[in-house]
């Protein structure tokens, strides 16, 4: 189904009466079942969010009682740092390779676990075993990593399976002690309504993403190794952040201004992100890179997509090598 057609058939409110609303309700239920199958949660545990990052607050503030402690890590998303400010909290420090030791967790704690770090690709091997409630940040891992058995709430971002931007999927386990932190009158998790066309488009995207991933994961992995080897061997004074997931990679170059690097790469047709201070709104360097001890200046973050080809990557690496040399001259 093409996107314009999705907008044509999914305009009615699925909660109303009438034939059109009924077919919209069928579309919504089918999408729910699709996500349920791929994400490993019950379809009635799923809510859709028009603002994915609102899910951090909805999930964590709903799991926390006024006195419970929030345990999180120094490579978690800034949204979680913000929630920690208004609760008793414990910030755990990741090791140099990004590993987190959750042994200090107490049975009364609410713990936040990031399955995959979206800046570096670090896959978390640490697992909190003893805690009251477990929030799982799956925004970067998508369908790649299964939820741990003891999850209470989990958040995904549609962009992680190449779906449309502006859609989050929040699951709240039926076992969890969760109360809605927003003013509410009924049992809905979010005020809604969330765009049905986006939900349907994202459901189609996750289906085709999962099917492609089986055939393309080896290519993505080989491309990641190629980039790492090239940067390490051909670009002097470079620093690779620890990684893990094949589709993400973060590299820094000493004596390079990241803003200039990102702009020059964009001029040559390559869209990359950066964790350097000059590229952030608050002029602070990435807290993730700083926590890991990776160089924060001259940083670029790469996402390798299913459609990325070896030819493109080769062209990119040559441009990168020349641009870094040019900026250092």
């Amino acid at each position: 189904m093409a996107l314009p057609h999705i907008f044509e058939v999914s305009w009615p409110d699925p909660t109303k009466l009438g034939v059109d609303s009924k077919s919209a309700a069928i579309l919504l239920n089918e999408a729910r079942e699709t996500f349920s199958g791929h994400l490993g949660v019950r379809s009635d545990e799923i809510s859709f969010l028009g603002e994915p990052n609102l899910g951090f607050h909805l999930a964590l503030s709903g799991l926390l009682s006024p006195n419970s402690r929030l345990v999180y890590s120094n490579i978690d998303r800034m949204e979680i740092f913000a929630i920690a400010q208004s609760h008793p909290n414990l910030q755990l420090a990741a090791s140099a390779i990004g590993e987190i030791d959750f042994k200090g967790c107490k049975i009364s704690d609410v713990v936040s676990l990031q399955l995959c770090n979206r800046e570096t690709g670090i896959i978390q091997v640490g697992r909190p075993e003893n805690c009251a409630e477990l929030f799982v940040d799956a925004t970067a891992s998508g369908t790649r990593i299964r939820l741990p058995e003891n999850w209470s709430a989990a958040l995904w971002d549609s962009t992680s399976w190449a779906g449309p931007t502006g859609l989050g999927v929040l699951a709240i386990s039926k076992r969890a002690k969760w109360t809605n932190p927003l003013p509410h009158l009924d049992g809905r998790v979010n005020p809604g309504p969330t765009s049905l066309p986006l939900i349907v488009a994202s459901a189609l995207a996750i289906d085709s993403w999962v099917a492609d991933e089986k055939n393309l994961s080896e290519k993505i992995s080989a491309i990641n190794s190629e980039i790492r080897t090239y940067i390490t061997t051909k670009i002097p004074d470079s620093d690779l952040a620890p990684g893990g997931a094949d589709h993400l990679l973060s590299a820094s170059f000493l004596y390079v201004n990241a803003e200039q690097l990102v702009t020059m790469l964009a001029d040559k047709g390559f869209a990359v992100d950066s964790g350097s201070a000059c590229n952030s709104t608050n002029m602070e360097p990435s807290h993730v890179l700083a926590a890991l001890g990776t160089l924060t200046q001259g940083n670029i973050r790469l996402t390798i997509h299913h459609a990325t080809s070896f030819e493109e990557v080769k062209a990119f690496l040559e441009v990168l090598e020349h641009t870094v040399a040019e900026l250092r001259a």
């Binding site: 004074d237 620093d239 820094s252 000493l254 004596y255 390079v256 201004n257 350097s276 201070a277 000059c278 002029m283 602070e284 360097p285 890179l289 700083a290 001890g293 990776t294 160089l295 924060t296 200046q297 001259g298």
Partner: protein, 70 residues
């Protein structure tokens, strides 16, 4: 000890200027670098690790740098 004042300068300028100053100096020379850029503390540590030199934070916005390799 020579003082290199990079106060008010943004990343990556403090590290670039430090490397320039150290280039002409013999091994074991020391420089006191002043920098209030938020990226300087993590980046000087990373720079020291990558280039084989030594950095010690000695108070607010001040770093003692020792050149250990040529």
């Amino acid at each position: 000890m020579e003082v290199l004042d990079c106060l008010g300068k943004r990343c990556p300028l403090p590290v670039i200027e430090l490397a320039k100053v150290l280039k002409s100096k013999p091994v074991n020379s020391q420089v006191r670098l002043l920098s209030d850029d938020p990226a300087s503390a993590p980046d000087l540590v990373a720079w020291a690790r990558m280039t084989g030199n030594s950095v010690k934070e000695v108070g607010d916005s001040a770093f003692e740098v020792t050149k250990l390799t040529d």
